[in-house]
Symmetry: C2
Subunit: 176 residues, 2 copies
Amino acid sequence: MPSTAPVADFDHAQRDALRLNLQKELLGQIPMAAAMQLAIAQWDGEQVELHAPLAPNVNDKGCAFGGSLVSVMTLACWSLIKLAADQRGFACEIYVQDSTVRYLAPVWNDFRAIAHLADGQSLDDFLDILALRGKARTATRCSIALADGTAACTLEARFVALRAKSPLQPANAAQS
Amino acid sequence: MPSTAPVADFDHAQRDALRLNLQKELLGQIPMAAAMQLAIAQWDGEQVELHAPLAPNVNDKGCAFGGSLVSVMTLACWSLIKLAADQRGFACEIYVQDSTVRYLAPVWNDFRAIAHLADGQSLDDFLDILALRGKARTATRCSIALADGTAACTLEARFVALRAKSPLQPANAAQS
C-alpha cells in the first residue's frame, strides 16, 4: 500500500489550494471582484475559468454589463499568469498593458470566462525570462461563450510581470 | 426686464437635467455602476466627464483596478452618445461593439474619465443616419489622466445604436 498519494493527485490538490487562495485574495482585496461575485472555478495549469452570476453584473437592458465582461476576462488572464507564478513559488507583480475586446452577442445568463495564453506563448519561457531578467511579457486570450458555444465576447490582452523584491517560499507557499 | 432666461442658460439647465437623469438611471439599473460610485460630473454636448472615487475601485496593489478603469471609460463613451440622443428626444439602444485599452500608468487617486467622439466623427451625422436608417455607428475616445495631465489609460471604442420602437417625447423628456 503506498504511503503517499499519487503525484497527479498531489498536483491537483496543490493547484486547488493555489486557486482557492488566489480567489480569496481577489475577493478580499479588490472590492469590484467581490461586487461581481466572481469565482476562480477551474485551473489546470494551462487554462483558467472564472465564473460570475448575472444578477450583480446586469446592465440597463437586463443582460451582462460590458464592464463586468471585460473585468472578468481581464482578471481571468491575470489569474492564469499569477497562478503559474505561484505554482513555481515566484513572487512577482503582474500588470495588464493593453487589451482589445470584441462584444459579439449579449449575455443573458450567468457567465464563465476561459483564459489561456495566446498562440506561440509559453508560461515556462515567460517565467524563465522573468527569473533571468526580472521582467517578462506575455500575451493572453479569453472568451465568454453562450450556452450553445458561440462566442459572446473575446479579449486579447498583453501583460508584463516584474519580479518582487521579497520572494515567496517555493511551490506551495499559498497553502501556508 | 426679460421674461425668460437666455437660451444659453436654458441649454445649460436642460443638459444638467438630462445628465443627472442618466446618472440616476445608471446607478439605479447597473449594480456595478453603483458599486463603482460613479458620477456623470460634466457634459457640454461635445464631451462628457465621469468621476469615480478610488476606494471602491482599488486593486490588490492599492491603485485603481483595471476593470474599473475600463468600465468607467466605456460608460463615459456610451453616456456621450446616449446624452446626445436624449437631447434630441431620440429613443435608441446603444451597444459597444469593440474597444482597445492602453494602461500606461497606475492611478493612485480618485479618477475622472473624459470622453469625446473620435476624430472625424459627428454626433449630428450619427443621429441623422440613425433617424434615416434606424441604425448607425460611431467611434469614441476616452482617457483618464494623472494629476499632472499625463494619460494613465486610454480607450478607443466603437458603438452601434438601433432606433427604439417607442420614441421618447422630444427634447427634455428626461425632465418629466
